[in-house]
């Protein structure tokens, strides 16, 4: 392993260890045993084929969500709209999934995924276009769009697309057709493979294409990019559309592969975890995969941890925040490891705030 890779991996790794250590103190404060809790966590996430399947299922929307944030980062934008984009993707994929029948799977499933992706691209692209044309800050616009998406998807699943079977009173769509259901290969959900493919594609696009170069140029220095003839507005709008599409695919996979339908309130909060994942991966599309697997593992094992050790599953959120803190403040870890200072490690977003 080359020295630079070691350096890149060291900080997230130590951050995870520190997060787990502080988590252990919290577990002790609840009069529970950290070793029992963490053992249950790992067994719950890796113990058998079912556990692995759960971990991979949990990791899938996290990969998509992490990519949605990371991709926008590359153009110097902060996409907090993952939640809304995910909901939009989930509801439209489910809509096509249950609304059409009689299609063969090779047509129906891609069509449902496409519906989610396109809806998400529009949703994300809206924020990017507003930013490019009016200077409206994407952080505010995407946050607002999250609320709009929440209301819109609630309405869709409670009114026109409501499941009217039996005496259902829950705001949810009917189950999607079999021909639109994402299959599982043993312990590996196909949705997870799609997520990995998406990560690889993002990396290729960003690192090996002209478009990716333009995206990164805009991220590094918007004015210089403009001066060198890159259409900054188009890059910002399209980057947000891609980001929206990625988050929406995560939602679509949830609807078509995990839940089998869209149900209001089920995916709440999932879209925000992409931020943690992207930061943990230092905005590297390939790094998103291990980061999502780690968090997915913790989430898959959380219920077993509660069952075996009596620790509230929300501990996972606290540990995530701690990990994020240590990743974002590498100065602490560098001091622990006696590493030399390297400014290239520091993620910088805030300077773009409010500037159009």
């Amino acid at each position: 392993m080359s020295r630079s890779i070691l350096r890149t991996v060291a900080i997230p790794l130590v951050a995870v260890v520190l997060g787990l250590l502080i988590g252990a103190v919290l577990i002790l404060s609840q009069n529970a045993s950290p070793s029992t809790a963490y053992t249950a966590l790992v067994v719950g996430g890796l113990g058998d084929a079912d556990a692995v399947l759960r971990t991979l299922q949990k990791a899938t929307p996290l990969i998509f969500g992490g990519l949605a944030v990371a991709f926008a980062f590359k153009a110097g934008m902060f996409n907090i709209g993952g939640q809304g984009q995910l909901l939009i993707g989930a509801v439209f994929a489910a809509g096509v999934g249950f609304g059409i029948d009689g299609l063969p799977m090779v047509v129906h499933l891609p069509l449902a995924l496409l519906a989610g992706a396109v809806a998400g691209a529009i949703w994300g692209g809206l924020a990017g276009t507003l930013k490019a044309t009016t200077g409206a800050h994407e952080v505010i616009v995407t946050i607002m769009l999250n609320f709009v998406a929440g209301n819109l998807t609630d309405w869709l699943s409670a009114n026109p697309w409501k499941d009217n079977s039996g005496n259902n009173i829950v705001a949810r769509t009917p189950l999607v057709e079999d021909s639109a259901t994402i299959p599982t290969l043993g312990a590996v959900p196909v949705g997870f493979l799609l997520a990995v493919a998406a990560a690889a594609t993002c990396w290729l696009v960003l690192e090996r294409t002209t478009y990716g170069f333009e995206v990164r140029s805009v991220g590094h220095n918007r004015n210089a990019a403009q001066y060198s003839g890159i259409r900054v507005g188009w890059i910002m709008a399209s980057t947000m559309a891609v980001a929206g599409m990625l988050a929406a695919l995560g939602g679509a996979v949830e609807s078509l592969g995990v839940d089998g339908r869209f149900e209001a309130g089920v995916n709440v909060g999932l879209g925000f975890e992409g931020i943690t994942i992207a930061l943990l991966a230092r905005a590297n599309p390939l790094g998103v995969i291990p980061a999502a697997l780690l968090v997915g593992l913790m989430e898959a094992g959380a219920s077993r941890m509660q069952f075996k050790a009596g620790v509230a599953p929300e501990l996972i959120d606290v540990i995530q925040a701690l990990i994020l803190f240590f990743v974002a403040a590498p100065i602490i870890i560098r001091w622990l490891l006696r590493m030399r200072h390297d400014t290239s490690e520091q993620l910088q977003l805030g300077a773009g705030w409010g500037k159009s």
Binding site: L130, V139, N151, W155, G350, G354
Partner: protein, 334 residues
């Protein structure tokens, strides 16, 4: 910064105000009780937003973005509720909320100013941590035995029709917030502290050369501003709702940021924007209560957010927005 408006903006503002007053008067003469209820709800919803916006503006005036207001609200509301329920005193609860807000402000400062963490990430850490911690330690069995803060009538002022009920028959923290608008306004625009604060947000390098300790003042301001968000948390748990529930801040910390931007980072501007948002929220509640119009509640619920997007986009077009020049940039002494 003098916060001078362009003449056409001022005219637009006055025209808008006049139209609003006429509409309110029309509604009041048509249906008094309901108009009063909506406007009282407006003030209720505006208080939290105004506190969050003031927290945000002190940070941003000093050059530090605070997107952790949501988390500050939530954890402070939790602290306020827990302490109030343990001690049986709303006052102690309020102090605990403010204390927690100060602590979270200090944490944000420690990250963003001390450790030079990216400011947006630092705020995100606060938000995620607050959600996790409050859910982890949430104790369902707790409640406020003594109930929440109750309205205090301000003597004869409270007897004025409409205005009396809406502004002068409120619970204590609402009055405190209104008073704080004046305090923060004077402090920001009429005091040495305010001048220095604005200086380190505009040009920290220049402020440094005239002897202002940029990092120290940023530390202080972000911490103090956290106290305002902490008061907001106390308000939420002890005055507006009277209990604590998971994720109860419900995005209003983010909305406060939008309010701050509409209000051009001034306390009174923010309060006007907060009243506007509060109005859409109150209208939504009223719609849901009496079903006079056949609009799905979800669409009414979207209203404040759609309006925010439109206004943010429009104000971008009008070009009235100007951020403190050093906003979001961590200062490195050269």
């Amino acid at each position: 910064m003098g916060e001078v408006m362009k003449p056409q903006q001022r005219q637009l503002l006055y025209a808008g105000l006049a139209v609003m007053l006429v509409i309110i008067w029309l509604f009041y003469s048509a249906n008094g009780p309901q108009t009063t209820a909506v406007l009282a709800g407006t003030v209720r919803a505006a208080t939290l937003l105004a506190l969050g916006a003031m927290c945000g503006m002190i940070g941003e005036r000093s050059g530090v973005v605070n997107i952790g207001i949501e988390g500050q609200f939530l954890l402070s509301a939790f602290a306020a509720f827990t302490i109030a329920s343990m001690t049986g005193s709303l006052f102690m609860g309020t102090l605990a909320g403010i204390g927690m807000g100060l602590m979270m402000g200090w944490m944000l400062a420690a990250m963003a100013v001390g450790l030079k963490v990216d400011q947006i990430i630092a705020g995100t850490v606060l938000n995620i941590a607050a959600l996790g911690l409050t859910s982890f330690f949430y104790d369902r069995s707790r409640s406020l035995g003594m109930g929440k803060y109750t309205n205090i009538d301000l003597g004869p002022l409270a007897d004025i029709p409409l205005v009396g009920t809406v502004f002068f028959s409120r619970p204590p923290l609402t009055y405190l917030t209104m008073a704080l608008l004046f305090v923060v306004h004077i402090a920001l625009f009429r005091s040495v502290w305010g001048m220095r604060t604005r200086a380190i947000g505009e040009h920290p390098g220049a402020a440094d050369t005239v002897g202002i300790d940029v990092l120290r003042l940023r530390y202080l301001n972000v911490t103090l501003a956290g106290g305002l968000a902490g008061l907001g948390g106390s308000y939420l748990a002890l005055e507006a709702v009277g209990t604590f529930s998971r994720a109860m801040s419900g995005g209003r910390g983010f909305l406060a940021l939008a309010v701050m931007i509409f209000g051009r980072r001034t306390p009174f501007g923010a309060y006007a924007a907060a009243l506007f948002f509060g109005f859409t929220t109150a209208l939504q509640n009223q719609f849901q209560l009496n079903n006079t119009f056949d609009i799905p509640p979800q669409f009414v619920g979207m209203l404040p957010f759609v309006v925010t997007i439109i206004v943010v986009a429009l104000s971008g077009l009008v070009g009235s927005m100007r951020d403190p020049a050093a906003l979001g940039q961590n200062y490195e002494k050269g």
